[in-house]
Each structure stands twice: as structure tokens, then as C-alpha cells.
């Protein structure tokens, strides 16, 4: 029971990181990127190949994986998302969703072509080892994953609160027209935001490749998880997506104890639908924000 809850929190940390990346693009740019799971998958593959070809520890390979995904994010923004940037509210969300659906097809099949459809796991030498705390096993890989997730969120929070770029992002999220009038380069902010979101997907992907497995087809599942968490947190709350991710991990763990492990995913989706229908502003969002 306690073991299950702890594992739920570990998994929830990954959900949180994946969801914060999605929430960033959604909250700031009004771009709903269904291909977020595919970006995560590419991040997982980068750390898998760096490990199996060059023997680089997956947690160290983050220093390559993060910039790589950041670049992919910059590229996608320039090539694709920039063209919907000027659309208004509803039309923009819908068109970005459709475009990213096209990206899903491209990225997923490029991955099959490059990496084959096989499932891969980064098998580090210390995979089974860990600390035993009051009879609860805490594997090093998962502990490291949670630590990295927490450090990432803290860094992102400080970046958004303290730096000029971070403030520009928050200003743009609130009102891009006002931000533009006060001299903020909005296209640049969008580019940075999307690239940051992609980099966060890269981190989540690395953690996924260490603690479970990556395959070209995992994208949709992770996009759905991230969407569930974003809706739980309330669209527009970016950092708030992280605790919501932990919550989803916890709920899934509890439902596999009390209901059945095979309906774990269903429970998450049902909560998602209920929140969407009953409390569209999310669990942590205020009514004004929605």
C-alpha cells in the first residue's frame, strides 16, 4: 500500500514535468500541442541511444537531451506554429490542435523509420538498486527522477518569476496585445515558450526511458496523461500542473489498489471528463481564470 503510493508519486513526478511543458505552450500561446507526447518520445530515444551507443548515463545525458529538444521546439515554432500565432482565441486553439495532429503522424512515423517499432529501456547498471526505508523500496533511478523533476520545476519557477524573459512570458500569457504594446517581442516569446515546453518534454522522456520504456507509439498515451493533468490543474496555471501531476500519479496508484490495475488509466480519464464538464477552471484554478 505505502509502496504503491510512493511509486505513484514517482510516476506522478514524470506526469507533472510532461504536463508543465504542455501547459506552458497552452497557457502562454493558446497552442494545444497534441504532438507533445511525440516530443517526449524523442527525448526518451535521445537518452536511450546516448546510453547504449556511447555509454552516457541517462541523467548526465540530459545536458545533451535538453538543448536538442529545445532546438526541435524552436524549429517547430518557426516552421509551423508561427503561422497560427495571429489567429484569435478559439480558432487558434483548434487550428493548433489540427496542425499538431499532422505533426503526430510525421514524428511517430519518422521514429518508426529511424528507431524501428521495438520497445526500448535504458538499462543502467544500478537499475535494481535502491534505498530501503521502513520496508519501502526506493530505487535510485526513480529517486533521481523525482529529484530532477523537482529541480526542474524550481528552476522553471525562478526563471518565470525572476528573469526578464520569464516576466515577458508571463506578461504575454496575460495579454499578448498589451505585452506587444509595452515593447515585448511577442513572436520571440512564443518561440522561447514553445522551445521550453519541448525541452520539458525531453526531460520527461529521459525519465520515462529510465523508469519504463519508449516506443514510437507511446506519444498519444503521454499526450493524454499531460492533457488530463493540465485540465485537472486548470488551463492557464503552468506551475500548478506539477502538483496536479503528482495527484494523478497518486490517484492511479490508489485506483490500482482499490479497483483494478487494468482500469488505472480509465480512472484518470473519467476524472478528466468529470473535471472538464463540472469544473472547467480546474481544481486549483479560480473562476476568473477560466
Amino acid at each position: 500500500m505505502a509502496q504503491n503510493i510512493v511509486y505513484g508519486l514517482f510516476v506522478g513526478g514524470i506526469y507533472g514535468i510532461a504536463a508543465v511543458g504542455l501547459a506552458l505552450a497552452f497557457g502562454v500561446m493558446n497552442v494545444l500541442n497534441i504532438a507533445h507526447g511525440e516530443l517526449l518520445m524523442f527525448g526518451g530515444y535521445i537518452s536511450f541511444w546516448l546510453f547504449s551507443l556511447l555509454g552516457i548515463d541517462p541523467f548526465v545525458s540530459l545536458i545533451i537531451c535538453i538543448p536538442a529538444l529545445f532546438l526541435i521546439g524552436l524549429l517547430l515554432d518557426r516552421l509551423v506554429y508561427r503561422h497560427v500565432a495571429r489567429l484569435r482565441g478559439e480558432a487558434k486553439i483548434k487550428n493548433s490542435l489540427l496542425i499538431s495532429f499532422g505533426l503526430v503522424l510525421i514524428l511517430q512515423n519518422v521514429a518508426i523509420r529511424l528507431f524501428t517499432a521495438d520497445e526500448r529501456t535504458t538499462q543502467v547498471s544500478y537499475i535494481g538498486q535502491g534505498i530501503n526505508l521502513f520496508g519501502i523500496a526506493l530505487p535510485y533511478t526513480r529517486l533521481m527522477g523525482l529529484v530532477i523533476a523537482l529541480v526542474t520545476i524550481l528552476a522553471l519557477h525562478l526563471f518565470l518569476q525572476r528573469t526578464d524573459s520569464g516576466k515577458a512570458i508571463r506578461a504575454t500569457a496575460e495579454d499578448w496585445e498589451a505585452a506587444e504594446l509595452s515593447g515585448i517581442n511577442v513572436p520571440r516569446v512564443y518561440m522561447l515558450t514553445f522551445a521550453l515546453g519541448a525541452a520539458l518534454a525531453g526531460i520527461a522522456g529521459t525519465l520515462v526511458s529510465v523508469t519504463s520504456s519508449v516506443a514510437p507509439s507511446i506519444g498519444l498515451d503521454w499526450t493524454l496523461k499531460a492533457l488530463i493533468v493540465v485540465v485537472l490543474a486548470g488551463t492557464g496555471s503552468i506551475i500548478g500542473a506539477f502538483p496536479a501531476g503528482l495527484l494523478l500519479g497518486l490517484v492511479e496508484a490508489l485506483s490500482s489498489i482499490f479497483i483494478s490495475a487494468s482500469y488505472r488509466e480509465v480512472v484518470g480519464l473519467v476524472i478528466f471528463l468529470l473535471v472538464l464538464l463540472i469544473r472547467p477552471q480546474g481544481l486549483f484554478g479560480s473562476r476568473e481564470a477560466a
Binding site: L98, G102, L105, V110, R113
Partner: protein, 342 residues
Amino acid sequence: MMRRIVMRRIGMRDVAMTSPAALTRSRAWRGPVLMAGVIALAALVPVLIDKQDTLNLLFLICLHITLGQSWNILAGFAGQTSLGHAAFFGIGALVTRTLWLNGMFFPVAFLLSGLAAVAFAMLIGVPTFRLRGAYFAIGTLGIAEVLRITVSQNLPLISTMPAAEIAAYNLTLRYYVALALALTTIGAAALLLRSSWSLGILAVREDEEAAQATGVNVLGHKLLALFISSFFAGLAGGLFAFQQISYYPSAAFSPVWTFDALLITFIGGLGTIGGPVLGAIFFILVRQRLAVTLVEVHQIVFGILFILIVLVFPGGLMGAWDRLRPRAIAEALRSRRQLHKS
């Protein structure tokens, strides 16, 4: 010009193009005759060509026309971009397969697939239609996934036709069912556009608030579009269950069915009658052609094409055709006028 834009928006393309009266009289018969010719040819294919793979290809085209057109009725006409279409398809397949293999007369089991999908659609329609735009899209995707996981947990075994059924397997019969279903779906979509209901449905698509303010029953018209859409999607699923010798029950609930419907409709032209037809033919032919040589390349091609259509050519193939046609007619008129002068 204004009239043409308005007419094109509501999908009555033929009416829009007939402003010069002389042209109308000389060409009005062409459309129906051409259509009758295509239908006759399609009906004669099994007699003319004795190749199973050609017939199979045509079957797939008909199935995908139905799939695309049914999605188009909800997303293209009523503007409700659903990502849960696979749920209706899957329910249809499940109902027909179960009833038919347990001895029910096929036409009855087939009809029930459409009705079962409608029943489910009406159940989820009222709550999900409270959601707007992209939220409706992800909400319906969530519902379809819940259904898919539940089915794959409860029916994990592959469903195979009994040996006697396989021995008596008749692809020609299945092709005729598919052709009839595709034609019925196209006909239903065309009738819907010509009916007075279409005014409300299209008004909801163009501007929900304005429609509400002018007294249109928004929810009622959305439910009407969903009713027709899910009925034909369910029947398409029933057809799939009738054709497949063996498949996993959850395969019919796969989001791929939604994504294919989306691709077909957008490639062909969202919100037009001809769009899903052209889109399905293009989709199946390209898929078949590219799958022979390179397995995944067709998906990458469709992905790029799809993004280009959303960003650059929102009309799809039908839109491209429309853009070319007025120019051709104008040229024909000009040359005729010059003939009169000389």
C-alpha cells in the same frame, strides 16, 4: 461575388456556379448523368473485373467514404470537431459482430449497429456539447479512449468468423453492401444540406452565439448532426465487422479510425459533400501505392499534406478545384463572346 461566397459557404456549389443562364441550360444535365455513370460503373465492377484485390480496394474506398462523410456531417457542417468518432465505429462493429455471429439475420444486426451508436451518441452528446472547440475535441477523445481500454480489458481475445462462414465468404456481396452504404451516406449528407435543418446547423458552425441570439436551438441542431453522424459511423463499424475475418474487438475502437476520418475529410475538403469522397479515394489509393514500397512513408506524406491544408489550402482538394473552375468558365465565356463578335 458575394452571392458566390455565400453559396459556397453553405455547400451548394452547383447553384453557385450557374449564374450565366446559357451555361446552365447547356450543362445542367452533366452532373446527374456523370453521377449516374459513376454509380453504374461502380455497380458493374464485380461483373467486369474478376480480381479480388481490386474489389478489396474499392470496398476500402467505400468504407472510408462512409467514415469520412459521417465525420464531416458533425465536424464540417455543424463545426463540432470530434476526436471520438472511433467510439461510434467501434460500438457499431461490436454490436453487429456479436449479434451476427450469434445467429441474428445480418441486415437486422447491421441496422442495430447504427442504432446502438446513436444511442451512445445521444447519451454523451448532451454533456459534451457543453464544451467548446478544442475542449470538445479532447473530451470526446477521452471518452473514446475510456471505451477502447474497457473493451480491450473485457474482450482481450481475437474474434474470428466460424469456419462455415469463412468457407462461404463472398467479397462481392460485401462490396455491394459497402457501395450501398457509401451512396446512402453521401445522399443523406446532400439531403441534410438541402433541408431547412441545414440553416440551423450551419449557423451553429459559423457563430454559435449569434445563432443562439437569433433563436436557433443550438443544442438541438448539434444533437441532430451528431445523430446522423453517429448513425453512419456505427453502420461503417458494422460493415467492418461483416468484412473482417478476424480482428481484436478493441481494434475497431482504435483512435486510428478517428484520425483517418479527419485526414480524409480535410484532404478532400471539410464541409463539402464531395470532399470526403475525393479524400477517401485519394487516401486509400496513396496508402495502397506507398505501402507497397515503404511502410511508414504514406503517414509522413499525409501528415505534411494535412498541415499544409490546414495552414495554406483550407479547402482541400475541393477548394483547389473550386479555385480553378471559375477561371476556366470565365475563359470559356470570353472565347464565346469573341466568337459572337466575329
